[in-house]
């Protein structure tokens, strides 16, 4: 009789033991799959939430006054618009979500306003992400709340600023900040209004150095960007960047700790079941040894069973874990669940490869102990 047939006959005979083994692997895999899926979703959700805090990196012209910029939020010198393309074309860099801005305070219809021109956000090669801010079409304007209220401007109105015609695409809701005093338009329109063709006052970005332990992210960014654009200064909204980094690190570490813990706990469970199975079958092992079966053949019976247990547990566990993630994910990750919580083929492959291995490893010690156990001791029944 082949080893495989013996394994299946034994499985059928000891269904409960087998099902408990499968259950242990199922739980381990389900937790692994749910955690993996949730961890990925959580990272994306956290990234999205952190992005809503805004850009934390500012690149301004070398001759701009930093003190003035920090007090007003507006750089008092400009630099070439081509700097954006230069930064955006770099590979292996530590920033993303590049936004070229030209802005300047002016008096318009006797009201102080901040004219802000925004180019469409760009990403470096291979790091394409959805834009963090709205994209403004040329010839249109978004009017801040206070400006709209004071001047009675409504959506659809045509306005003219220093000879440039714009159509009001939106009047923004009250923000309680400087945005309420802005007139936001396309970068090209702002360059025309402010008579700065081909110029920008700032490049805003988000740094990606969340997981660099023990390094000074600002120093790294200054070195990196300074090498690309030597005629610029780099400033970082440190508290915002730190909060973002800490939050992402916390999520990363939470899952990094929990997944191994669950996997080890289930490994111990599988191991205990293997020990119970081996103890229950000690006489059988002794008999097979007495009949002349070698350790490899006997070990194959047990490890083959462990492999089957792992395979079945992986399939059921993946289904259970993915279902858990799909059911509870949208409740937890409200912003990104629709696009990010989904069963992932790579996790299925990982489960199918790891669970049988995991099951074999957990069973290995008791099985090896069993096959090396003195058969005479189990068969001696005087």
């Amino acid at each position: 009789m082949s080893t495989v047939r013996m394994i299946f006959k034994e499985l059928w005979h000891r269904k409960i033991n087998f099902l408990l083994g499968v259950l242990a692997v199922t739980v381990a895999v389900a937790f692994f799959v749910a955690f993996q899926t949730a961890a990925r979703a959580s990272n994306r959700e956290t990234a999205r939430l952190m992005l809503s805090m805004g850009y934390n990196l500012h690149v301004i012209a070398w001759d701009a006054d930093v003190g003035d910029f920090l007090m007003t939020g507006v750089a008092n010198a400009t630099m070439p618009e081509s700097h954006l393309e230069t930064l955006a074309s770099q590979k292996n860099i530590s920033y993303n979500h590049l936004l070229a801005v030209l802005e300047k305070q002016m008096i318009w219809r006797d009201v102080p306003v901040l004219v802000t021109g925004l180019a469409p956000e760009v990403c470096p090669p291979g790091r394409k992400k959805p834009p963090m801010v709205f994209q403004i079409e040329p010839g249109t304007a978004y009017i801040g709340y206070q400006v709209a209220v004071r001047l009675g401007i409504e959506k659809g109105n045509k306005i003219e600023i220093d000879g440039t015609q714009l159509e009001v695409a939106r009047c923004l809701a009250e923000s309680g900040g400087v945005d309420d005093m802005r007139i936001q338009c396309h970068l090209a329109d702002a360059q025309q209004i402010l008579a700065c063709p081909g110029q920008i006052s700032e490049i805003q970005a988000v740094d990606c150095l969340c997981f660099v332990e023990g390094a000074d992210p600002l120093e790294m960014l200054r070195t990196e960007i300074g090498a690309i654009l030597p005629d610029t200064q780099v400033l970082q909204a440190k508290s915002m960047a730190d909060a973002r980094a800490r939050q992402r690190q916390m999520v990363f570490k939470t899952f990094a700790v929990m997944v191994p813990f669950v996997v080890i706990a289930c490994g111990v469970w599988v191991g205990v079941l293997a020990i119970m199975n081996v103890r229950e079958r000690q006489t059988e092992i002794g008999l097979l040894r007495a009949l002349g079966y070698g350790a490899a053949k006997i070990g194959g019976l047990f490890l083959g069973k462990a492999m089957l247990t792992g395979l079945l547990g992986a399939l059921v566990g993946f289904g259970a874990g993915a279902t858990l993630a799909l059911v509870f994910g949208p409740e937890i990750f409200r912003l990104t669940a629709r696009t990010t919580v989904r069963p992932e083929a790579v996790v299925l492959l990982q489960s199918l490869a790891a669970a049988p291995l995991f099951s074999i490893v957990a069973s290995f010690v008791p099985v090896m102990f069993a096959v090396s156990y003195d058969p005479a001791a189990t068969l001696r029944e005087e």
């Binding site: 000891r14 059988e284 007495a290 009949l291 002349g292 068969l379």
Partner: protein
Amino acid sequence: MIVLGDVSKTYRTRAGQVKALDGIGLEIPAGEFVAVRGPSGSGKTTLLMVIAGMLRPSAGTVAVGGQDVFAMSQQERARFRARNIGFVFQMFHLVPYLNIAENVRLAARADGTDHSSEVPQLLDRLGLAGRATHKPAELSAGEKQRTAIARALLNRPKIILADEPTGNLDPENAGTVMKHLADFQQAGGTVVVATHGPAADDFATRVVSLRDGRPDEMK
């Protein structure tokens, strides 16, 4: 021929050392039916395990068919056992998830030579023809022991070692089992039966009494 040269076996227990065999010298020529008698704990089973090469003696030598059993590697010993020695146990030790025919066939696989085609004949000879597809749990004690004998006989071994083979059987079944072992001996095989009672005396060509690990010829 089985030759034991001054074989001793000492077990270490929590209570101290227990000497199961104490300097046994024994020669069992081929074709003999030897009954090893003695009370529980006298070392009968240990003696069988040592002859089978399953238990290494603390001292002394064991030769079976002219070969020093413990000079072989563990793998060689397992192969040697599969080809030359059949085992019958008091508790039958049938694999519960295999049917009777499959239990008997287990021995064929261990041997490496395929005698499995002889299983139906063997079962028929032992009165188990109608039980081939039954599981051990569905058999009587006598049927289980006859299955164990069929398993022991399948590889046409030279020696059968039987440890209290009638310990769990009624007198009628005990007699049947002993008769099958005697048939094997009469066909040229060697039988060593460990028993605490006189069940094997009528069939044995020689009876060895074992007390405190020492032999004492009785017949």
